[in-house]
């Protein structure tokens, strides 16, 4: 069953797997076994649920977007991950993995971050559980997400600038994996999305499933379409997981400059086989998006599979549409969302009333994060 069980042998159809150096294979195998065990352990689940409730602020509400719905001629519900502690859905996965790291006796968290939201969430969990945290971040992202760097440091994490390659999320991920190889005994690699080697795509989807489970229960009726932005694809995977067994259409929205599903080809990067933006010989392309969290040339392998079998579809929006969308949502609903989340909004704005989203459609959209981190860049004219 898609989006449900552990993937057999770590595969989602033709995608997934564990393409890592031999040095990391035992650590991945240990992690898979530990997660399998923890996920069926009531004590672990209760502790995570408790933290999600009393610390992270779950459940997050499902907000009817009344004015926008009226303007667009559809019914739009917003799943408010922007209201979770630290400002995005990233905290759901981070709390789960951090508890798992502690269960494994690890004392240090290593993470990559693009927009800095995952880095902030990781630094937060480290502070909460008394672990140390090293966060790798591309130097280009450090420039455009300064506020989050400041937050991570305030929380006691070390932020390491990555100056190789495109100086964004892809390169930060390489560097985090290098750091992990050198310290597998005491570190846990806390990957922030549904990519990477098995068990990460499965484990991160399960930790994010809470989004979809809550949304399903909160929705007044079954939506016709479920929409989420896609970088690596964790907020989308968690949202989709709640609707996998329904007739709802699942739509992931990528940045036009980082559209692995639309413009990529099958490839092996960061430990998994999935869709990847690359050239004819397999050199990975540099993505380019206004949203640092979507500035990534790959996507999680389960999305590649969902796309291949037609269960989900993946669309793109441009930076210009995103900037328009962030303003329109702010004015219509009083919600300033993250540039990443605004991709999902932009797609709904564009397609409402078209055959893709006919008038009267019921649409559930995950607003993955809040926009505070993007205000400096937007005010300085990261304009359409």
């Amino acid at each position: 069953m898609i989006l449900m069980a552990e993937p057999a042998a770590g595969r989602f159809g033709d995608f997934g797997g564990r393409y890592v150096p031999e040095s990391l294979v035992p650590a991945c195998a240990e992690l898979a076994a530990a997660f399998r065990d923890a996920w069926t352990d009531k004590t672990f689940r209760d502790e995570l649920d408790e933290l999600l409730a009393v610390y992270a602020g779950r459940p997050t509400p499902l907000t009817p977007a009344r004015r926008l719905s009226a303007e667009l001629g559809i019914t739009l519900w917003l799943k408010r991950e922007d209201l979770a502690h630290t400002g995005s859905h990233k905290i759901n996965n981070v709390l789960g993995q951090a508890l798992l790291a502690r269960r494994l006796g690890r004392t240090r968290l290593i993470a990559e971050t693009g927009a800095g939201q995952h880095g902030v969430a990781t630094a937060t969990a480290a502070a909460l559980l008394g672990l140390s945290a090293t966060i790798y971040m591309g130097s280009r992202d450090i420039e455009r997400q300064r506020l989050n760097v400041f937050r991570m440091e305030m929380l006691g994490a070390e932020v390491v600038p990555v100056t190789g390659g495109s100086r964004t999320l892809k390169d930060a991920t390489n560097e985090a994996m290098r750091a992990w190889v050198a310290d597998v005994d005491s570190s846990h690699f806390l990957l922030g999305s549904v990519g990477g080697p098995h068990p990460y795509p499965w484990m991160v989807r399960e930790f994010q499933r809470v989004i979809g489970t809550e949304a399903r229960a909160q929705a007044p009726s079954l939506p016709d379409a479920v929409v989420a932005c896609v970088g690596g694809g964790s907020n989308a995977a968690g949202t989709f997981a709640g609707f996998a067994d329904t007739t709802a259409r699942l739509i992931g929205v990528e940045a036009s400059g980082g559209a692995a599903m639309t413009g990529g080809a099958p490839g092996v990067v960061h430990g998994t086989r999935s869709m990847v933006l690359q050239d004819a010989e397999g050199q990975v392309a540099e993505a380019s998006s206004i949203a640092a969290g979507l500035d990534y040339p790959g996507i999680g392998p389960e999305h590649a599979h969902l796309g291949a079998i037609g269960r989900a579809s993946y669309r793109t929006v441009t930076d210009a549409e995103v900037v328009t969308a962030i303003h329109r949502l702010a004015r219509a609903e009083g919600i300033i969302c993250a540039l990443e989340s605004a991709h999902a909004v932009a797609w709904v704005l564009r397609e409402a009333g078209t055959p893709l989203l006919p008038a009267g459609s019921k649409v559930l959209l995950t607003l993955s994060g809040r926009g505070d981190k993007d205000m400096v860049a937007l005010s300085e004219g990261a304009e359409a």
Binding site: D171, V181, V268, V276
Partner: protein, 258 residues
């Protein structure tokens, strides 16, 4: 099973009681990069590893990262590197070292055939562990390429035996838990691992990653059948050392290995 050219050269060296030396060069690092191949061979290399640069060298430290960036920055491609290799007669077996995506993008069968057409008969893919290697191993076998697998200090016994059984050419013993790159000392884990690997395979066992000086090479080869040396040489290449100068570095390693 031992029909590969690269096996034979290493086997000859090892069977004669000698220690194998496999130096590394990043393909396409400069316009005249194949001169380094000739210099290495003349200085006593038993085989040469040619890095096919990849945009995301996840298991490489700063030196090989910089070398890969420089080669790609010059606009080099796998196609151009293989064309260069086909144009020289090096006289020792050549082994390609690259990441899985370049192999899968071309398709393992086509990729291996192109290697052989250029005169390359070995292949090392550091992000292709034994569990994921079946398709590439089959293609390599058909094309006549020795797919060499890597073992790590943390590899448990059963896996080690499987790696020993499925590797071709030699077994690459990764000396330490970390990326490629020079180190001040040879990690104890290197010789411990080499001893364990030798117990499960008849193939030569070469230690690589971090072997930085002739003395370290000799220490590694006291237990292993030889060494792979990469970053220590590539730092010199990046700093502008000529093929002749690199030949002298390789000769010093050769002398230390006996």
């Amino acid at each position: 099973m031992r029909a590969y050219a690269s096996d034979e050269a290493l086997d000859r060296r090892v069977a004669g009681g000698g220690k194998a030396l496999v130096p590394y060069i990043t393909g396409g690092i400069s316009a005249d990069w194949t001169e380094y191949l000739l210099a290495y061979a003349a200085a006593g290399a038993d085989a040469i590893e040619i890095g096919l640069p990849f945009s995301d060298p996840m298991l490489d430290g700063v030196t090989i990262q910089r070398a890969s960036d420089r080669a790609l920055g010059r606009g080099t491609t796998v196609e151009a590197i293989l064309r260069d290799v086909a144009g020289v007669s090096v006289g020792v077996p050549l082994i390609a070292m690259t990441y899985a995506n370049l192999v899968f993008r071309a398709g393992p069968a086509s990729f291996c055939r192109r290697l052989v057409a250029a005169g390359i008969t070995g292949l090392i893919v550091p992000d292709l562990p034994v569990d994921e290697a079946a398709a590439v191993a089959r293609a390599a076998e058909e094309a006549g390429v020795a797919l060499t697998l890597l073992a790590a200090p943390v590899t448990p016994g059963e896996r080690l035996a499987e790696i020993g059984a499925r590797s071709r050419g030699f077994v690459y013993a990764v000396s330490l838990m970390g990326t490629t790159g020079e180190r001040d000392t040879l990690d104890d884990a290197a010789t411990r691992l080499a001893t364990r690997v030798k117990a499960v395979t008849d193939l030569p066992v070469l230690i690589g990653f971090g072997v930085s000086t002739p003395a370290q090479a000799a220490a590694a080869a006291a237990v292993a059948d030889g060494v792979v040396v990469a970053s220590a040489l590539m730092r010199r290449v990046l700093d502008g050392a000529t093929p002749d100068e690199l030949g002298r570095d390789v000769a010093a390693l050769r002398a230390a290995l006996g």
